[in-house]
Symmetry: D2
Subunit: 352 residues, 4 copies
Amino acid sequence: MLMRINVGIIGASGYTGGELLRILANHPSVEVSYVTSREHAGKPLHYVHYNLRGYYKGLRFHEFKLDELTEKADVVFLSLPHGVSLKYVPDLLNTGIKVIDLSADFRLKDPSMYKFWYGFEHPYPDLLSKAVYGLPEIHRDEIRNASLVASPGCNATATILALLPVARAGLIDLNRIVSDVKVGSSEGGSKPRAGSHHPEREGAIRPYDAEGHRHAAEVEQELRLITKADVSVSLVPYAVSSVRGALASVHSWLVREVDDVEVMKAYVQTYSKEHFIRLVRAVPPGYPDPKYVIGSNYADVGYAVERRLRRLTAFAAIDNMVKGAAGQAVQAFNIMAGFEETLGLENPPLKP
Amino acid sequence: MLMRINVGIIGASGYTGGELLRILANHPSVEVSYVTSREHAGKPLHYVHYNLRGYYKGLRFHEFKLDELTEKADVVFLSLPHGVSLKYVPDLLNTGIKVIDLSADFRLKDPSMYKFWYGFEHPYPDLLSKAVYGLPEIHRDEIRNASLVASPGCNATATILALLPVARAGLIDLNRIVSDVKVGSSEGGSKPRAGSHHPEREGAIRPYDAEGHRHAAEVEQELRLITKADVSVSLVPYAVSSVRGALASVHSWLVREVDDVEVMKAYVQTYSKEHFIRLVRAVPPGYPDPKYVIGSNYADVGYAVERRLRRLTAFAAIDNMVKGAAGQAVQAFNIMAGFEETLGLENPPLKP
Amino acid sequence: MLMRINVGIIGASGYTGGELLRILANHPSVEVSYVTSREHAGKPLHYVHYNLRGYYKGLRFHEFKLDELTEKADVVFLSLPHGVSLKYVPDLLNTGIKVIDLSADFRLKDPSMYKFWYGFEHPYPDLLSKAVYGLPEIHRDEIRNASLVASPGCNATATILALLPVARAGLIDLNRIVSDVKVGSSEGGSKPRAGSHHPEREGAIRPYDAEGHRHAAEVEQELRLITKADVSVSLVPYAVSSVRGALASVHSWLVREVDDVEVMKAYVQTYSKEHFIRLVRAVPPGYPDPKYVIGSNYADVGYAVERRLRRLTAFAAIDNMVKGAAGQAVQAFNIMAGFEETLGLENPPLKP
Amino acid sequence: MLMRINVGIIGASGYTGGELLRILANHPSVEVSYVTSREHAGKPLHYVHYNLRGYYKGLRFHEFKLDELTEKADVVFLSLPHGVSLKYVPDLLNTGIKVIDLSADFRLKDPSMYKFWYGFEHPYPDLLSKAVYGLPEIHRDEIRNASLVASPGCNATATILALLPVARAGLIDLNRIVSDVKVGSSEGGSKPRAGSHHPEREGAIRPYDAEGHRHAAEVEQELRLITKADVSVSLVPYAVSSVRGALASVHSWLVREVDDVEVMKAYVQTYSKEHFIRLVRAVPPGYPDPKYVIGSNYADVGYAVERRLRRLTAFAAIDNMVKGAAGQAVQAFNIMAGFEETLGLENPPLKP
């Protein structure tokens, strides 16, 4: 493995940027060669990412310059806010650099969905069809040849991974689905706000976007693709007091009597070859808990059936910073680069 | 207010026992005169309840003796595990003492439900019909004359209070309801277990009883009573890392197009005269969060509608130790005693 | 207790303002009649203090106006930042209103200390001698007749209360004292900052002001007064991940062999008549822990001696928002008003 | 790096055992070939260490058998309670296997110290002189040739690393030192106890062993060795509500006026070549915080001087599970094996 790819990160001072840097620090085939931050330009990385003291010696944050980037990097990760990425992407693609965008700006195929969920007219509808939704468990082959990958949202990732097997197997009513997602505070990003102030956030169990979170758009898009049917998903997220971690509880109703073997089979068939999906069923601790994937790219997936009411709840637990953001982006990068998909992502989660 | 009632607490060394003692410490019309604990008999209360140092001077835990209790107390609270309370209640009632039982042993009217949900044949089916389900917002008048009050479970309290207005108003499909309840660690009681060990519980987002929590039985019973219709409720609880607090998110589907005024009206009509129910809607912080009821007997109630899918989620946030246990029991006690319902329960929650 | 005193709070939208409102909500002899907040003028109190929904109906935040205040209130609490209070106090005192200031602006007697520790020339040195340091355990008699009370800092309160008995008894070297204080996040106030952002603060154990925290000035002043000797105290605070609570560990060296009885005697003599001081020694849980005073005005005090090295560590655990701020201010208020010192402060702490 | 060493772990179901397994999972030159647990014999590893699902396929916990161990492993880690390790070590050494013991049983050179601090007569005083105290920053050369390494305690590691530079440079009074150590709950091990019950531990700031923690014995031993002088250290630990992390604040007094350059020089000289020591001084976040070493083998070291009082506080922040236990043991293992010292330990800490 002598080949090394030069990588740039735009918007590298936020949480997903920092997490990319953490993961890539030991990626054997990556050289991070260019990182940008408007606010912190000129500073060494560890002035912002205290954990990285001792890594990336000599590297500093830059103001973004297109020619510097393309000179130094072969692939670029965008860790920018929604609505900002899309200003960068066309010019980047024109230079021939490969782009992995962690924002929502290119995840949806239908431009009208941007109007509905994000409140703006998408300026590059053509690029939407070119972009590949970067969930390897669904789009591995397309990612391989993509020039633009739109890396999935964390709530969407957890919801899709939980739901995919039973939706595909036709076991559930596809129009009565609620994904109740509990997330840690890192999901809100690195900017302090009133709601993220420690005294207010610690101990909170606080619904937000309860009238329907916009990651539902990605979930519905992907599940329609898979099921070739109409799918409606409500996504209701909550701030709980963890720092990392997201658990999606996707509540649904079975369309008929189904025994455990049949449900289990759906999960096994979908995921038996997926390295980063671990089934948690009838083994300790009983159900997926994001606590036990922290720091890793795993999604722990499981389910429960209440036979009395034909309710099936599908669970997926991820580290929102890894499988929900930077780790999944590196997984897609590995696929694009022709590397082992697990490269740089082999470390076990922490416990406790 | 010269009258003082002598009160006993059986099983006073656990969390709900301690919470009763905390609340009653400043109740102007209560004298706690007899408290029992098998494990801690002989010790002063503050050897177990460190917060109570300086209160209840002279009072110690006793081994339970029926004659001592009836000599010293006019009303008794039972803070005992499920299946234990029912061994005490018949004898207690025979002495004429009034009983407020915080366990599940007398909450369900239909004896067969004990077989189904709790796995035992109820030995006193006649007492089940005599017992009053101690939710004042539904059974205030019966509580007034009750000799046996079965105080509701915390997950049930939150679910019922969230759901009651829209169920009663006929706005939702009563057979597709999922109550997704997130609870703090105090709900598990005072006995250390593997799952409550701090390193494992802190940061957890962990489903339990995901095939259907047994508090669903209470919820269905009470909602059938109110709606005179069949009601099915799935109740799925989660351990999150708060210490106190429970949030019920009750997901349901509207039976028709409903505007906000109509939903709001249902809540206002049901709760406008209820001191301990506070409506949180279109005011900060947006939705109920148990963080802001901690230490108090309030239930903060609210809802969200996703018009696109006709989903209505009803929320109720409580302190599981207060409105979910000891506070609600004291509220019922006040009603039984003919006191102001709020007596001893007037303190605002903590923030932050 | 028919008498009611009208009270104003300036700067009522911050954490200490909110805590005053929480405590005074059930004070039987107080009517909160005027509250100010520049930022939130016009809003009902519960738009900021979510816990207070249902309390103080009809009361709103006002822009401060001197004549409105004096017309409506007999006593005023100032919950303002350091350096801001002192702009209000002279005018307030001129109107004859009694002032309880929760800032540091009038705590120090020696004006030069403001230059040294706070970096400004104090503009009203004459008022410094008039102000009474509002620690009832030391200055009860002067508080009774004070027109201006300077309520102590939370780190100072914990350090002084821990140290007072052994300092007064002459048991320790007064020039080698380090107070290592661990505090919850509420101590930093209600304004979000980078260091208080939940993802960064949760799980932190972070020294700040480690070259000497300025509350040392108050501690030294008060201990010199008591001991009539020179006293040097280093105060090093740490952010830990609790929300409320402060524990001072005051490390010192015994000047001679001392047995436990002698140390215990020093504590008992100093505090046996103090309602809000509870001695924790040789009883569970072993040493003071702020966890068990939360929500209350108690200071739990204790100590440990390492005989081998003649080290004595004195501990005091407080709720930084109560005995460390608003509760202590209400305690002083009660004394000034001639009320029972405990009025409105009788509630036990929470556990767990 | 084709060579692989077979490794056994005795007592592998506890926290330090699990952490060894986590770290060794990706160690390129280690094959974990034998793990024991009395309680969990027969189970796959991930039944206990949920994080390790997907790793160590085929490996299960065994009952310890000496011949099985020596047949399968070249080096063995002991993750056993104090007083238990010493029963295994003599037999193990007789077989010629190399032993890294994570307990305290062979850390102290002076047998009488076991009597004083641990309350037992050490049965193998000869082995004490043979054992090497496994702190690479002091004993690297001896570790290289050791057959028995006694891996340091976590509180001791943090205290020694903070103090070493200034003690060696003769800058501080060696007889007035207090190490005030704040630790997360994982330090207490994996067995649930009353004090580790989540509702009681979360939010706690709780002194324990406040009359002098026994890790002081290791600290004094090592510092006497380095300084050739008498050294007295008080060690006072506290439970705070983090899960991982320990911060030692070592309070001391300078023996003379010292400027910052001189102190800094002491730290730089001691640690400039130490890979796992990172100096935090005059750069963000100001002082070491264990939050930013979590998951890694780093010790972040720094200090503060209060010139006014000639107080110097030295800080060291570690992950108690890594540099405080399993990581340090692997670091010693690498040295013994002739590997790069950092092998398997290269991953950056998490943030946030």
